[in-house]
Amino acid sequence: MRIGVLRTQVPFVHGGAERHAANLVAALNQYGHEATEITLPFKWYPGEVLADHILAARMHDLSEFEGVPVDMAIGLKFPAWLAHHPNKLYWILHQHRAAYDLWSTGDADLMHDPDGDALRALIHAEDRAAFTASPHPIYANSGNVAGRLKTYLDLDATPLYHPPPNAERLWQGDYGDYLFAPGRINPSKRLELILRGLAATRSKIPLVIAGVAENPGYQQDLHALALELGIANRITWLGRVDDETLLRHYAEARAVVFVPQDEDYGYITLEAMLSGRPVITCTDSGGPLEFITDGIEGRVTAPKPADLGQAFEEVMSDPTGAERMGQAGLARYTDMQITWEHVVDTLVGRSDQQVHPLPVEEGTSAPEDTATAPAEAPPELSPQEQAVQTLTAAIAPPSAPEDLPFANIEEVLAAYAFDELPGLLGDHAPPIDTGLANYLGTHWTRYMTTLRALDGIPVTSALDVGVFPPLVFQALLANQFPGIRMAGLWEGPDPYVQTVRSVQEGAFPGFDIRLEAVNSERDPWPYPDDSFELVTGMEILEHLALDPYFFFSEANRVLKPGGHILLTTPNIVSHRGVSKMLNGIAPYSFGIFVPSGGVYGRHNREHGPKDLPDLGQAAGFETVLIRTVDVYDRTIDPKIAEMLVERGDDLTLRGETIFYLAQKASAPKGLPKRFYHGDPTRMTGTLSVASVESATGLTRITVQNGSNQWWSVGGDHATCILAEWIDGAGDLRHQHLMQPITAPIAPHSAGEIALRLDPEGIQDQGTLRLHLYQSGVGTMTGSGRAPTLTLPCSQDAFLRVVKSTPLPGDVT
């Protein structure tokens, strides 16, 4: 998977958070993913600037870059984790504490800002919205961080521990005769408490302090305090140290002292454990308490100098006890599976064990434990079975929307009178047609997956293209989006108008709808620009035979700025399509002919997942989501699964149905040429007789360019005329391509051509049929947007026209 790791960056500051993000990226890459850090600069003061940075973070779209999707974003820090991505997972380093625990303790800088209350509310609202929108479990850096999330937002998070930066290099030496206090030096680390604890001891215990103060003044204060307490000669200030020195002191100290106030996590605890050193900490130190139990892996005392001093004395006077606690800490660390491999497995799975590639949720066909406890596949599974499990999880459908009042299609059919006719005949609750219910029931999972794709999108108006009665999906939309205005396009031939009401009055929202009869890939859609917030096309794209770009472009036109298009269509390169191909069968999901339905009854072109973003991008859309899901059939050929996994394929794109959600971002940009022979955007026009001089037969014909493009008279895709002569018996005898158009014709403008046909009095001996023709391509007639013109014409007149009219290549 391509994974973006989101963190904030305070320019020129490099600390634990930065190392943490870099290590996560390295681990993801090590286990087969393609990961990178995505950083947003962050300044949190004054309050207005903090609000700006929240706003700025919200404005970023990380769903894809250079046309290549980012499969997942892992949010580590606020507010970077507010950036837009449809598949975000949170591993919370810590929240913006000034809006949470520091506010409660009265220590938040926000309380000193006029906008403080509003900022706090804003941060809570943004965090809550972000966390609850994620389809994944929330992970926290530590139990302490998870506890704060529970306390302040009432959300559950799972602690997920990771190794400290030097985990592999830490070593154990003898238990020396000094205490070691490493780490950043700032008031929250409470060095002064350590000094006062040291002063409270009766024996002359040495203390080695490594690290530098972020504020030199604070360091001076500590030196002064040591002098004042009379312990200056027992303290060695190492300042900034290299790794070797640091590791050596971890390895050779009697114990490590770490007494921060409410630390999020604290590498120092883990580094001490890996060095086999007991840790002396305090009851209010936060993170360390998740690893250290008093008397087992170290000492936990009240944050008082006397209590701390007593613990120092005890540890220093009992080297055996110190060793016992140090080794217990090391054993506990080992038991806790604190490895990057475990982190990667839990968050996203290794590249061959994807756990959260897509929003897979409870209640789906995915293995039950994949969403919450990925761990490793059971050892008894064969590689094929593992591959099936992995693929199943990657393309499993999400659960139904939580607040939907229906559990299945029968409940929807029972809830609504989709047809007014029974009611008009006095039958207000006709029995459900079981055949219809069975048919629609097969689509239920697709409906639910479609609704879930709309999570978080406010919709008040929607156009469904290719809809037909009964309007079941519209009923679902009416329940999901109260007050929604809906319209539809269908094949016709007549417009369809219906008032759909709840069978039990008022139990469910009713709706009125009008379906216009339109060929959606040929005819302009009968709505003004910017009419809808949502256009849906469900299982329609594969039926289009002529011009899908026109479909996308019209969708763009009728959508409001920022509106969404949601398309579902069979995936011709699904695992099932691959299986069919390898077994010598055409890979269509629906490859049969439907004579009763005309050319649109069958699937004319099924698409691959990459086709839709290409078409959409050309038509001015920005992809929000592209995923595939097995919504009909859940069977998987194990050999195919194994092959796809082995190839390292993006399994999320191997499901049977494509779900494509995109947002209108600009006007259409231009035809995606790889889909077309010729340029259909120019294939709209008419030929009509402007005048006929009866004495000479001179016939002036208006050539109307009905497209949005210029018609050139030379070069590629020039517009010219195909003339056909049909004799009196009705047989086509001659075809001739010519260029009577003398000048380019502007969009929606007309030119004129003159042909000398027969003067009055000549008996009709045949017919001239004129086609608009795109040079190098063919007649425009096939587009359905350029009808032919037929005129009476003798063969002599036809030959005269052929002789006197330039050929296409003659005109430049």
């Binding site: 207005e48 609000a51 700006d52 929240i54 706003l55 919200r58 404005m59 837009h84 506010w103 009265g106 926000l110 309380m111 000193h112 800002d113 006029p114 906008d115 403080g116 209350d117 509003a118 900022l119 706090r120 509310a121 804003l122 809570h124 609202a125 943004e126 700025p561 920022g562 947002q663």
Partner: protein, 429 residues
Amino acid sequence: MKPKVHWISPIPEATTDIAHYTYRILPELAEATDLTVWTDARHWDRATEAFCPVRKINPHETLPRDFAKAGHGDGPDVIFIHIGNSWAYHAGFLTLARRIPSIIVLHDLAIQEMLHDAMRFAGFPRDIYEAEMLRWYGPEGLAAAQDVLSRRSGANVLSETYPGFHLCLDHAAAVLSHTPAAFDAVKATGIVPAYQLDLPFRPSASAPSAKRAPDGPLRLVQFGHIGPNRRLWEVLEALGPLKGEIDFKLDIMGNVWDRSVLSEKLEQFGLEAHVQVHGFVPEPDLDAALAQAHLVFNLRYPTMGEASGSQLRIWNAAAAAVVTDLGWYGSLPDDTVFKIPIDGEIPALQDLIRRVNADRTLGETLAQTGRTRLEDRHNPALYAKGIAEIAQHFPEDAAKSLQARRARETLAKVPHPAPLYDAALKKRL
């Protein structure tokens, strides 16, 4: 959990309707919320503290930490700031409202007099005022404001076209008003949620009689903070010609904005013997005067739709009032007040006074209906419940408002109008 409400309002000893309004609802408000009242006055009536803690606010310096420290209860801090048209009570609150996100309780839409007095007497910066007038009302609004600043026009006249309440909105999380007109005006700005509650008033325990003395002098009353828009000069002009025709007595109770002009007017119209100017009187005295009044003058022009605490007091006393047929007053049911148009105001007043004099029971039904309306729609418990409900929305409203404000301010810095920015913000927010 009750909301933790910080109620920033004038309170007694302040002699203003808004102070009385706050005092009236304190028992119910303290019951419905975890309430702390804040004032910037030096002195206040200690009786207020029987209901909730009272704290002193410094409009220039108070910060969220102060609210967090001073309040009681577990809910989020919810701040209500009361804005009216008197600089003495509201200039400081205006400053605070422009610093701290809050729910603005907008008692007047037309606050230009307060704004101009705030500039003259309370140091409100003129450059900010002018920038805001330009922002909200365009070059015409700024020019009109500058006419007032250079004394070519009056602030009350300015209010008719450019009411000024917009200057309170930028940091507002929401606005609560007491009339449909004010609600609509706030809503029309499109930048802040609007709420509406009927102005509360605690009715006297027993409904007084609406009957009035059938003989003796016709008793007339005008009371309150009597500024230029209370039409006192017009009332006097209407009464002048009637003095030989009708035996009447007008009691003026309250603070007349220009006493010297009042003296001139009384002399001009020969009304010295018919008019008694009391100044502010204790509430029982005022209520007693209203209980005897055949007609109370409660006219307004201009009015921007503000509700009248005075009218509630008049209804409480089961007295008949005449109001201007405009704004909130015009929206009152016809069977609760006499209404006169602003055009032909003086003849209409004279006609009404003659009719009331001729039939001393004329106002009886109006007064009774008004009293019933007061009891049904304006009781403090209902109002306090509404405040608690509005407070529950405050965190969400404040968050949205802050985000919208920053987006506005960011867009305002764009050198050229760019719809693309609007579209991008709309897409993500």
